[in-house]
């Protein structure tokens, strides 16, 4: 018997739908809909009270209209009336309308809440379920506030029906997702864990979902769920397929529940209790064994369900990464799937194997499947599957198979889908560099890349090849020869012209001996491409020409002719024109010696992390990219620009040194330290204040940020002799500096301490300025920086410039503190200052605002990359979330400035909700680098924020969350 009888539908509704379907055009459809909307509106507004049936009919029509993509802006009141009715049919349709059409901001929520409250209290399981469904589907904050107290009670009450329990569990889960701060933890939590033992498997499934989510946030509190989950799983896995009756799906016992339980177990490390652990291993073995058994049914549903459990078991094995035996079995199983005729299984096998490749136990075993994977790349019809194959090849690559894998990827690139080409290009470039034994191979590979997929070769890739060629003199000649040959092609990609121009400009002389590549031929070859190129490339070529003037004096006249031509000297583009003019003058005025100095070969680039790797990391997230050996990197945000020979035209001086030396503070090079003499004019921070006698507000630092709130001089702070009190006060001061580097750290009647700091990578330098505000001298002035024991091993501090023990009235002294971050830290170091003023000993301690976020480097990434990385950092301990009231007005621009000040890159257009903020950055410490993603969701109505941080380290997530949440 069909469960839905069709005869007694609503006639009016059916007619309306038929009408719509018979409309011949979109216009006719819209006309019909507008007519109906007008009709319904007048009915709802009319004097005659509508009966339940009519209301239901009209609401159904509205639902249908909504589905067709038309806005519905009325009918809500009628829906609320319906859901308050005592008749099931009306109530049900009312709830349906609300859960489809009402968003969480609706003002109706209060009225709806009333209806829900009555239904929850009704003890009628059908009504309770409708109400719980509605809460779960809308999930708004107001609902959470109204019901979070009741739902746990319903969930654990002894007399609640099973179906209601199921709904209550999921409803609670939903509210925990939308408003985690409102869901109270309490005595009900332990009882929820025991639902894992419930008789009704539907209840267990719902409870497992709930526990998994809660355990991700509070692993400790739900630890007991591990042993219960293992025993439940074991009972399911070992049961005969008929034991679980209705929950057996195509001969597989309770597949969904098994999957959920295996997911729950992935929130925890392997069980410590030996017995539990043994039982779990047994379960996993049984699941692996079952996969080998002949199928009990030919239906695809049977194998799907069985494999759903199997893949989840394999994920758990990989997550635990502790049983070599299981890992190898898992790998073999996946290997079988790689050749399975079901596309879905091949896809999933490739995906799982990718994670398996990073485990040391199974890396070798994964490698044995290389031929199959390469074959998949060549023969799969489905681009989703091919993409997984590329990922896996990348993950399994090492020195032994790099040449083969790179060659295969290059092959594939020629026919690859446009959507994945850029990623493959980056991957090839990275593998080629990372595993290059012979750099000629590397150069060949990159040139091939440009030839095959020039449009997808980003700047990072060709910058990198130039960096490597310049730094390795053993490949320079070979590179010059190869690019010269590559440029012979009648149509070559502009990127090749760039690389060719650069390399010939530097090393063209190495092949000039060969009459086939004489200077003039080289020049003519490059110049034949000139007119086809874009402005930046032409600019680069002009620089190459002036370098040729130095390398090959014999073609100087030819080059001068080119520079002198109207198309260069009077080029509409300012940059090109300027280069032509300056280069022409340079070539005619300067002596050979000066030319040789100015146009000297580029010095080697400082060793640094491949910018390509950074780019791929941005694309793929840190977990997926093998680490390149820790190199001491010198950061310069525009370092890539410096590979361009165009720097000749800025000044002759910058030619001889890499332009990375624009580093302001010279960090990384030998420190040059000068104590600022007291009362010296200009430049120093506090001077302005003191030369100007006015006691009024003064913005102390010339470079202070706009929102800088400087304390008033002459305020009535009392000097405290008690250092502890002073330190306590200073905590807020530290918070003030989280998002900025300069400002006044501390001030009282006697003195003012100003700060100016700079941070690069894991290094930092802080200038500390002490200003004597009185007219009398401070005596025995001394300072010290104190690191608590817990902090000592995490950051290294070095204070320079021991100051004169006497500080004159109105004078200012300066100290410099060098900082090196060794690993992540929580506490801030303390600055202790002692001096005598008017005979009394003054002792002050302030916390120095050296916080973990100072060692951020911002990372730009696209929305896609962001969410991919976000997903990869999904382990419960990696995420920290905090919901808090706004302390300041919620101004978007100010918030943006603060996030940028915090050190991360502010990512626009990443979050689907434009009012949210997302950011990404990498914390640099000497020992590790920690990638960090953050998301800030403001709720202007409630004046609240939700801040979520995901990093690969729990402590980092926590600390950053503490720091940032104080800022808004």
């Amino acid at each position: 018997m069909p469960a839905v009888s069709k005869g007694d539908g609503m006639r009016g509704l059916a007619v309306f739908i038929s009408d719509i379907r018979n409309c011949k055009s979109k216009e006719a459809e819209i006309k019909r809909i507008n007519k109906e909307l007008a009709n319904i509106r007048s009915k709802f507004k009319g004097d005659k009270a509508l009966d339940g049936y009519s209301k239901k009919k009209y609401v159904c029509k509205l639902l249908f209209i909504f589905l067709l993509g038309h806005d519905i802006d009325f009918g809500h009141m009628e829906a609320v009336n319906l859901l308050s009715s005592n008749r099931y049919t009306e109530k049900q349709i009312g709830y349906l309308f609300i859960s489809v059409l009402v968003n969480s901001n609706s003002e109706l929520i209060r009225l709806i809440n009333n209806g829900i409250k009555n239904d929850l209290a009704s003890r009628n399981p059908t009504f309770m379920n409708l109400a719980l469904h509605c809460i779960a589907n809308v999930g708004s904050r107001e609902m959470a506030e109204a019901f979070t107290a009741d739902i746990p009670k319903i969930l654990v009450a002894g007399d609640t029906m099973d179906s209601v329990k199921q709904s209550a569990a999921l409803c609670l889960l939903r509210l925990n997702r939308t408003s985690p701060d409102l869901v109270p933890m309490g005595e009900w939590t332990s009882r929820v864990v025991h639902l894992l033992n419930d008789q009704h498997l539907g209840v267990v499934t719902a409870a497992t979902s709930l526990i998994t989510t809660l355990a991700q946030k509070n692993p400790e509190e739900f630890k007991t769920s591990v042993s219960l989950a293992v025993s439940r799983l074991s009972r399911i896995v070992t049961s005969a397929s008929t034991d679980l009756q209705d929950y057996t799906y195509y001969f597989v016992p309770a597949p969904w529940l098994s999957v959920k339980l295996l997911r729950l177990l992935q929130c925890y490390p392997p069980p410590e209790d030996g017995a539990v652990r043994g039982r779990l291993t047994e379960c996993l073995e049984t699941i692996l064994n079952k996969a080998q058994e002949p199928p009990k049914s030919k239906k695809v549903q049977h194998s799907n369900a069985k494999n759903a459990v199997l893949f989840e078991a394999i994920s758990l094995i990989i997550h635990h990464d502790s049983e070599p035996n299981l890992l190898v079995r898992a790998c073999n199983q996946l290997g079988q799937f790689l050749q399975h005729r079901e596309t879905n299984l091949r896809y999933l096998a490739l995906e799982s194997m990718c994670t398996l490749a990073s485990s040391e136990f199974s890396h070798e075993a994964v490698k044995t499947h290389i031929e199959t994977v390469i074959n998949a790349l060549k023969t799969e019809r489905d681009v989703s599957v091919r993409q997984r194959a590329v990922d896996l090849l990348y993950a399994m690559c090492d020195r032994s198979n790099a040449q083969q894998i790179v060659a295969e990827m290059l092959n594939y690139l020629e026919t690859a889908d446009y959507s994945i080409r850029e990623e493959i290009v980056l991957k090839v470039a990275i593998l080629a560099e990372k595993y290059a034994v012979d750099y000629t191979w590397y150069v060949d590979t990159i040139l091939n890349l440009i030839r095959i997929a020039g449009d997808y070769v980003s700047e990072e890739v060709w910058y990198r090849v130039i960096q490597i060629v310049i730094n390795r003199d053993d490949v320079q000649g070979y590179s010059a020869k190869t690019v010269f040959e590559a440029l012979q092609a009648p149509a070559c990609h502009e990127n090749l012209v760039k690389v060719g121009g650069y390399i010939l400009g530097e090393f063209g002389n190495l092949i000039a001996g060969d009459p086939r590549s004489s200077p003039l031929i080289q020049f003519n070859l490059l110049h034949s491409k000139f007119h086809l190129c874009s402005v930046p490339t032409r600019a680069l070529l002009l620089s190459t020409y002036i370098k040729f003037v130095n390398l090959f004096p014999e073609i100087k006249a030819t080059i001068q002719d080119v520079l002198r031509s109207d198309s260069q000297l009077r080029n509409a583009d300012v940059e090109l024109q300027q280069r032509a003019v300056e280069y022409l003058r340079l070539s005619s005025i300067a002596s050979t010696d000066i030319l040789a100095t100015v146009l000297e070969e580029m010095p080697p680039f400082p060793e640094r992390e491949s910018s390509i790797l950074t780019k791929l990391k941005k694309k793929k997230g840190p977990g997926k990219v093998p680490d390149v050996e820790e190199t001491k990197k010198e950061r310069n945000s525009d370092m890539n620009g410096s590979t361009e020979p165009a720097s000749v035209n800025s000044s002759a001086v910058t030619m001889s040194t890499p332009s990375t030396s624009t580093d302001l503070l010279g960090l990384g090079s030998a420190p040059v330290l000068n104590s600022v003499a007291p009362s010296s004019a200009g430049g120093s921070l506090l001077v302005d204040v003191f030369s100007d006698n006015s006691p009024a507000v003064a913005s102390l630092a010339p470079s202070a940020e706009e929102n800088f709130t400087s304390p008033r001089i002459g305020s009535t702070d009392v000097v405290s002799d008690d250092p502890a009190a002073a330190v306590h006060d200073a905590d807020e001061l530290v918070d003030k500096f989280v998002c900025k580097n300069n400002g006044v750290l501390f001030e009282n009647q006697l003195m003012q301490i100003g700060l100016k700091s700079e941070f690069r990578q894991n290094l930092g330098r802080m200038y500390i300025f002490y200003g004597n505000k009185t007219s009398n001298q401070f005596q025995s002035f001394s300072t010290a920086v104190i690191c608590q024991d817990a902090l000592k091993t995490h950051i290294l501090l070095h204070l320079f410039c021991i100051v004169d023990p006497a500080v004159d009235g109105g004078a200012q002294v300066q100290q410099i503190l060098n900082i090196e971050c060794v690993s992540d830290f929580m506490e801030a170091p303390i600055l202790n200052i002692q001096f005598r003023y008017g005979g009394a000993l003054q002792n002050m301690s302030v916390k120095l605002p050296i916080t973990l976020n100072k060692f951020f480097q911002p990372t730009e990434m696209t929305s896609q990359d962001f969410f991919q990385r976000w997903k990869q950092l999904g382990a419960p301990q990696q995420e920290v979330q905090k919901i808090f009231k706004a302390k300041h007005p919620m101004d978007t621009e100010v918030t943006k400035a603060k996030i940028i000040g915090f050190g991360v890159a502010l990512l626009d257009m990443v979050d689907p909700n434009p009012s949210n903020f997302t950011g990404a950055g990498v914390i640099h410490t000497k020992n590790i680098q920690v990638g960090c993603l953050l998301r800030l969701e403001p709720n202007t109505q409630a004046q609240m924020y939700r801040l979520t941080l995901r990093t690969s380290r729990e402590t980092v997530s926590q600390r950053l969350c503490e720091l940032l949440s104080e800022q808004f």
């Binding site: 069909p2 509704l13 249908f64 349709i93 799906y249 019809r381």
Partner: protein
């Protein structure tokens, strides 16, 4: 969690949309179009998973879909769901519809949106799987129908009689989707708007 459940036909006409995260109406429609675009260009016999469109969270989310005759059933899920599990869930959903409507076809979904929503509500709640046991679901739906009928009682009888008579004039609705297996061939189904 499940972010959205979409059903549309081969021409991209939505037949059911259920979002478990809040989007504006416009965005919802765009998501439906984008999803249709992504799914419909794929061949038969390729895998049933693909990365989600940009509007619904990009590669963070997967689209898991099945194509039955004239209809696409698409579940948009995040990484916390098992791909094969969801694929089976779609099957359970369709089998349940088939049981409840006796050989379900596209027209049933069009004319009984409310019922389809009810059936779905028995399976998925707030983006989480509520019940996977088909018998349990059908029992619930049955119970609800009984309640509906008993409520309709005498008051509803005249209206039902009238509608039954009038329904006789409606063109006969084709009902020829059989759900026994995944590949369903439907001969000569009229094109739906």
């Amino acid at each position: 969690m499940i972010k959205a459940i979409l059903i549309f036909n081969n021409h991209g006409k939505p037949r059911l949309s259920k979002f478990y995260e809040h989007y504006s109406e416009d965005t919802e429609q765009q998501i439906i179009r984008e999803t249709f675009h992504l799914v419909s260009k794929r061949d038969e016999n390729v895998c049933n998973f693909l990365e989600g469109g940009m509007l619904i969270g990009g590669s963070d989310n997967k689209l898991i879909y099945r194509h039955y005759a004239t209809l696409y059933f698409v579940f948009c899920v995040d990484s916390s769901e098992s791909e094969l599990g969801i694929l089976d869930l779609i099957q359970v959903f369709v089998e349940t519809l088939d049981k409840c409507f006796e050989n379900v076809c596209e027209l049933d979904l069009i004319f009984h949106v409310d019922k389809v929503h009810n059936i779905l509500a028995e399976m998925v709640m707030g983006g989480m799987v509520l019940e996977t046991n088909m018998n349990e679901i059908v029992t619930q739906v049955d119970a609800e129908n009984k309640m509906e009928k008993s409520e309709a009682g005498l008051a509803g009888a005249p209206a039902r009689a009238v509608s039954a008579v009038k329904n006789m004039n409606l063109p006969e609705m084709p009902r020829n989707i059989n759900i026994g297996d995944i590949s369903i061939k439907v001969p000569n189904l009229p094109s739906f708007k």
